[in-house]
């Protein structure tokens, strides 16, 4: 029998070479031979500041129960969960359960779903969720996510797990800086390229001139210079200040996991970074991707994938030969990487691969590469049938359009991604452009010029002229690697999508920025300037069209609801909580507005969100009644307002019995 305290407590018995670590994040060399399946229903989390040792240096983290990353929270699908969060900081804190379908007032976003947790207070989260898989939790207050306030969640399925495995580990990828995060943000505001040491130099020009000719190289420089942009603007905050971590370990600290040859090892990979999109691979070991953002997908074998901030992937690997495999999380801008070891003995250190060459953005990332469009095959679609020049686009009113007729997911039998094309004709619905003749934008090959009805000005440096779907591309910098790389268009939900209706209406949301001023927004409007949230009506199905007008990939996260990514997957579209929208890309996803409440919706790059790339999606109740803890707790019927809570049914396995803040009620979480 395992001692749960060993798992969640601050027991110093197996402190690694690095810092205080929860058992799940320790190396095989320190006794972590794989995660046992243990479930609890009550968890106590104390938020405080504490010293950490990373990459041989000392720093101060803000986090949970004194460990970086935070303890693993593991429970069973459908169970009533109680989590007491005590704030020992001098500042407010919060915990958001990333990807969990909780009541909105348990979602943990200060100012949206609750008031936050004041210093000294304890807030009690109570929920039961109808889902299983790999998720995570993190602070939604200030910039605490950057300094260690994140940890993994595993929800074990109520029934049989379709994924078979012999051993499992969690890999929490993150980025650590010894700089104060507010200083990092201020530096970006003052000089947005403060951390970019991957710019093109005179030497690069000489190389390009030698390869492509002087004129071509000069033309290329002139083109980027004319637009006042950098083709090496891949990450705002880089290895110049970041130490990249796997389970709190830098490459030097060598987190290591164990396998027996022939075993199926499940790796639950969570990108808990503040700002770092990673390329993840295990050279020499193919990975079978079995889940994305917690939910099962049809297994796809691949050699590498790009994982956006806040995304999760579960993969199964089956190393046949003894030895040490490198698990590599390489930053998208190639300014650094974290390498851990999967070894046939505890304590092995795999050889870290060289960091690959820095990618350079192209015109396609600017959504201006018209040339690449014309080569695409539109035969399967009758584009003429969607010629909007014959329709009167009266704002949002589709009038006589039969939306069902435009659900192209049904067409798609070969799995090829046409989503960017076939939906293109519908993009105009979000704009109020009565009487405009759309035929003039027909580029002759079915693609259309992008409309921009949003605010522009100092905060919007670029608008995508011709955004395209890039779901069948692996991500910035991975086009020309000589092995398989996962694309979004390959993902298929294992389960059939629960709602197969065509969308009732569409929203167009532009991801906008001015890198030079470090301004980030949706539709040119910073969060501080938002006058009204994005309103959905309970029960309706809405298509979100995200158009990336910026030069950067953005992992966009919607709280409270999974969305179906329109990737040609028919009734098996992958359901996700976070999706990377590549530069110059247009991505569509469908949401069924089934969870009433106010839900945060934002770019999960922390400093983009902090700069204003955020909004709220409000799902308005049909009957006008907002669910409250008393009115709407379909799972357990707890009376949250009574001030009394019956914990007798909970065993509280993992908690010390002398817990100083057991038995909290909601009233302590409220601010009077």
């Amino acid at each position: 029998m395992f001692n749960r305290r060993h798992f969640l407590g601050m027991s110093g018995a197996a402190i690694g070479a690095t810092s205080l670590l929860p058992a799940w994040a320790r190396s095989a060399a320190h006794g972590n031979l794989g995660l046992p399946t243990l479930t609890g229903t009550e968890f106590n989390l104390d938020i405080s500041q504490f010293p950490v040792r990373i990459d041989g240096r000392s720093g101060i983290a803000t986090g949970v129960n004194g460990t970086l990353p935070a303890p693993l929270i593991r429970f069973r699908e459908g169970d009533d969960i109680t989590i007491n969060v005590k704030n020992n900081l001098k500042a407010d804190t919060s915990i958001h359960w990333h990807g969990l379908l909780v009541p909105f007032y348990m979602d943990g976003v200060p100012g949206v779903s609750f008031p936050g947790i004041r210093p000294g207070e304890t807030f009690q989260y109570k929920f039961a969720v109808p889902q299983s898989g790999t998720y995570w939790y993190h602070s939604h207050s200030g910039l605490q996510e950057q300094v260690g306030h994140y940890g993994p969640i595993i929800i074990d399925p109520a029934g049989a797990d379709p994924v078979a495995y012999d051993r499992e580990y969690v890999l929490v990828l993150s980025d650590w800086s010894f700089e104060n995060p507010h200083r990092i943000f201020a530096k970006l505001k003052k000089s947005s390229e403060s951390y970019n040491f991957n710019q093109r130099t005179l030497g690069d020009f000489a190389d390009d001139a030698a390869r492509e000719g002087f004129g071509t190289a000069l033309e290329d420089r002139a083109m980027w210079g004319q637009m006042r942009m950098s083709p090496r603007d891949l990450a705002d905050v880089t290895g110049a200040t970041y130490t990249y971590l796997i389970n709190g370990h830098s490459t030097l600290d060598n987190w290591n996991a164990l396998f027996e040859p022939g075993e199926r090892v499940r790796l639950r990979i969570i990108n808990a970074s503040a700002m770092s999109i990673f390329n993840f691979r295990i050279p020499g070991l193919p990975m079978s991707v079995v889940a994305s953002d917690g939910l099962n997908v049809r297994p796809v074998e691949t050699d590498e994938f790009q994982i956006g901030v806040a995304e999760t992937y579960d993969v199964v690997v089956q190393p046949e030969r003894a030895g040490a495999y490198a698990m590599v999380a390489e930053s998208i801008d190639r300014s650094g990487q974290a390498v851990a070891t999967l070894g046939s003995q505890p304590g092995l250190r795999a050889e870290a691969p060289q960091i690959r060459a820095v990618p350079t953005l192209t015109m396609k990332d600017m959504a201006m590469d018209h040339g690449s469009m014309s080569g695409m095959d539109h035969d399967a679609h009758d584009m003429k049938a969607m010629d909007h020049s014959q329709h009167d686009m009266g704002g949002m009113d589709h009038g006589d359009h039969d939306m069902k007729a435009m659900d192209h997911s049904g067409h798609d039998t070969d799995g090829k991604d046409h989503s960017g094309h076939d939906m293109g004709g519908m993009d105009h619905s979000g704009h109020d452009m009565d009487g405009m003749d759309h035929s003039q934008h027909d580029m002759g090959d079915g693609s259309e010029m992008q409309m921009h009805a949003h605010k522009t000005g100092p905060g919007v440096a670029n608008t995508a002229m011709m955004p395209v779907s890039r779901l069948d591309e692996p991500g910035i910098g991975l086009d020309d690697v000589n092995h398989r790389v996962l694309t979004y268009s390959q993902l298929r939900s294992l389960d059939m999508n629960p709602d197969m209706r065509a969308p009732d209406r569409e929203l167009q949301i532009h991801l906008t920025s001015n890198m030079h001023r470090y301004m980030w927004s949706f539709n040119g409007v910073k969060f501080s300037e938002v006058k009204e949230s994005i309103r959905l009506q309970e029960g309706e199905r809405v298509r979100f069209n995200l158009v990336n007008d910026t030069m950067m990939p953005h992992p966009i996260h919607l709280h409270g609801m999974f969305f179906d990514l329109v990737n040609g997957g028919g009734h098996h579209k992958p359901r996700k909580h976070t999706v990377i929208v590549k530069p110059g890309e247009k991505v569509a996803f469908d949401v069924t507005a089934e969870h009433v409440g106010d839900w945060a919706f934002h770019c999960h790059l922390l400093y983009h969100m902090h700069a204003g790339m955020m909004n709220v999606v409000s799902v308005m109740p049909k009957d006008g009644n907002v669910p409250t803890p008393t009115s709407h707790d379909p799972h357990a019927g707890h009376d949250m307002s009574s001030g009394k809570m019956d914990h007798s049914g909970h065993e509280g396995h993992d908690m010390p019995k002398d817990d100083p803040h057991a038995g909290h009620d909601m009233s302590k979480g409220e601010h009077h």
Partner: protein
Amino acid sequence: MTNRFRRTLCLGAASLLVMPAAIAEEGDAPWSMADEVFGEEAMRHSRDHLRHSHGSMNTFYVQAERFELQAFDDEDVLLLDGNAWYGGDINKLWLKTELEYLPDESDLEEAEVQLLWSRAVSPYFDIQTGIRQDFEPRGRTHFVAGFQGLAPYLFELDGAAFVSTDGDLTARVESEYELLLTQRLILQPRAELELSAQEIPELETGSGVTSLSAGLRLRYEIKREFAPYVGVEWQKAFGDTADFAKAAGEESEAVAFVIGVRAWH
């Protein structure tokens, strides 16, 4: 005090008063469902805080753009070309200063300070208006109207027109470019042109193009925030301004070797 000066002061003061923009607007909350669970007041407080901290924060910046010793043939000049700003994305309060000190003579030869309201009007350009006060060589006050930003092909531009309390109109345009030799070794050409609409005898300035200076500085960014440099600076006076210089026994053209540091916080 002339009427013109009073008008100038009023204009400058008015432009500064327009600045505070980051005041949250009252009215219907943009979302409010959690109010029903946690109370309207607690939610309003946290909502206001959340919105303010996600997009309308202010930043303070201070920079010594050129803090350098200019070694001319006949004299050394210690130059501080510095600036600072405070504000948000759209509105900022700028302070610009240029000081020239002659160490050999222990003399502050030139000293000016500008206090400007800067407003972003396009993705890459701000307009700036305010007051310029000269302390040396002569105490003079100017109204300033200018612009600053990043031009196509990545040229930094800073231009301003100055109307003095005596009614004199002058102007100044600066441009810089950064050429990355490596990620940290940066060559910066820089040029500055001064113009005058009229002759100003007490400043020994003619009309038209009065002077041009051009420099080439090679800096090494130990950190982005701290970069020592070496370079050359060439200065030339034109027309009547050159004649004034000759009459005073000075050269109308000079070259200096410069050594200095560029730093910001």
